[in-house]
């Protein structure tokens, strides 16, 4: 293949990557923005979403589209419920203290990951895509499902934007983020908002995972990579800034997709983790960091 079409293919791959990454990074970003805590178990909610999606589609053999739609609906719901309970039962008890929360979510990481190992087993398993068709470009054919992932992710992002900027819950979230105590005295049920945002963060990760599951295989350790990537995106994007995170997800997803086709993925990851550490040290507000919240 010539360089031009090759680059085009790489950008399409990057765009798929960026679409899923922006969902999971947005989840991490929301949680950090509103609760001011880092959820280290974020990647495991992602993995849980994929595992549940696999289980659902496995339970409906021969009906991949139905299975996929059911998973798209049920997996985030179940994951969100688990996250909500985790927040109310564990994080609320430690007052969402930032450092204690990191330790507690590391604990959750192991619990979820190891439960998946027990229930799902150590093997990577494929999930059937909901439909097969190829979009034919002049130089190569491309999976229609992958293209639809990009569209579905974009639609979901639009929906999240709507919730945050146009609904009562979104208003509560923004108020809680700006000033927790003021929100509390204004009658906003801050505890519930925390629980819901924590759940919403996990649901976004799970959604991303359901979309990617038919492309990649489902595995109990698959959460580590998106956790790291989401971290990178949220930090580069400016901690808690949604617009920054989305922009960063696009750039980093694309870069990662393209760079991985030219260089060793290990080297690419090594360099990007070091870059993130440097960004945190030199520009704590992030590269695209705006002081304006949300």
């Amino acid at each position: 293949m010539d360089l031009g079409p090759f680059l085009f293919l790489a950008s399409l791959e990057g765009l798929v990557q960026a679409a899923v990454l922006s969902l999971s990074a947005l989840g991490l970003c929301l949680v950090f923005g509103v609760l001011r805590v880092v959820n280290v178990a974020h990647g495991e909610f992602y993995m849980a979403g994929a595992v549940i999606a696999w289980a659902i589609s496995h339970a409906l053999p021969g009906q991949p589209l139905l299975g996929f739609l059911a998973a798209l609906f049920l997996a985030p719901l179940l994951v969100g419920l688990a996250a909500f309970i985790a927040d109310r039962a564990i994080l609320r008890k430690i007052n969402h203290n930032p450092e204690a929360t990191i330790v507690a979510t590391i604990g959750m990481l192991y619990v979820i990951q190891q439960s998946a190992l027990i229930g799902f087993g150590p093997d990577a398993r494929p999930m059937e895509p909901p439909f097969y068709f190829h979009v034919n470009f002049p130089w190569f054919g491309y999976s229609g499902y992958k293209l639809s992932v990009i569209l579905m992710a974009a639609a979901l992002l639009l929906f999240v934007w709507y919730v945050i900027s146009r609904t009562r819950l979104g208003l509560f979230m923004r108020a809680t983020q700006l000033d927790r105590e003021m929100a509390q005295v204004s009658g906003i049920p801050v505890g519930w908002v925390y629980g819901l945002v924590f759940a919403a963060g996990a649901m976004l990760a799970a959604l991303g995972a359901v979309l990617i599951a038919p492309i990649r295989q489902v595995h109990y350790l698959m959460g580590l990579d998106p956790l790291l990537m989401s971290f990178i995106v949220v930090i580069i994007g400016g901690l808690g800034s949604i617009r920054g995170a989305l922009l960063a997800a696009l750039v980093i997803g694309m870069c990662d997709g393209i760079v991985s086709m030219f260089f060793s993925p290990t080297l690419a990851k090594m360099i990007s983790t070091l870059l993130v550490a440097l960004v945190l040290i030199l520009r704590p507000e992030g590269l695209f960091g705006q002081r304006k919240p949300l």
């Binding site: 192991y110 990951q113 290990t266 090594m270 945190l280």
Partner: protein
Amino acid sequence: MTGSGKRSLTLHIGVLVLLFLLPFILPDYHQLVITRIMILAIFALGYNILFGYAGLLSLGHAMFFACGLYAAGLPVYHLGWEVPLAFLFAIVISALAAALIGAIALRTQGVAFMIVTLMFAQAVYLGTLYFSDVTGADEGLVLPEHARSFDALGMRVDLTSPEVRYYIALALLSAAVLMVCRWVNGGLGREWVAVRENESRTRMLGYNTFLIKLKAMVISGTFSGGAGAAYGLLFAYVGSTFASIQYSIDALLFTLLGGAGTVLGPILGSFIMFYLVDFFSGHTTAYLLATGVVLILLIMYFPLGVLGTLRKKWLPWLP
């Protein structure tokens, strides 16, 4: 020395004497396990200096452990160095690495510090995977025959003997405990605690708090690196696993469990956790589940750990 000082010294020496006597009564299997535990306890002791005393929560201490491991193991493997030389070299390299990483990472605080240390450690881990020609990556390297014994003080020290390994580990642990005791009961320990309790006040008083934290980082990193070097040399193996985030979390877990900010806490934590995991792994492949559950329960109900809770309730003299 005050009365409480004497009591605590007696306690620490008592624990070390107990460890000295254990091999005479325990079966061989436990001798090996406790050798490992003692080395990891040195790692946790080092971690505790930074976290328990200076109040800095690092999520990347595996990088120092791995740094010592590789700095000792690679020269032995590739260049045929003698064991004692490799150990000393590893100590020096770990101290330098900790100074460098500390000088950079200590520009951040709180959550940012946690993430920066995590990221650095991840980069080191990926590095050990990437340079697989040198490090052996996941499969690791088994150290050659010549590294299984060395001459010291006119004696031939045989590292394949379980007793010899046990007593080397104990000697290192004893040295580490005595050093930590000396520091934390002296001026340096008070400076660390001052930074942990109220950093801005400490700076206003006239302390260079950055330097105090850097000292904690270097000592902590050197202990961790020393533990890594000892682990690699005693068991003749180096590999990427030891650089993985799991080991950073273990150090945190041992320290939290035993009691952050107590000298013996990390040692006790290492023992409890090791035997707990040992027990679980006999029954299930998902033994890390225990790690997760213990972490959550600890942070929710016993943030002070076993010895921290004891100290608060009954034994205020415990260091």
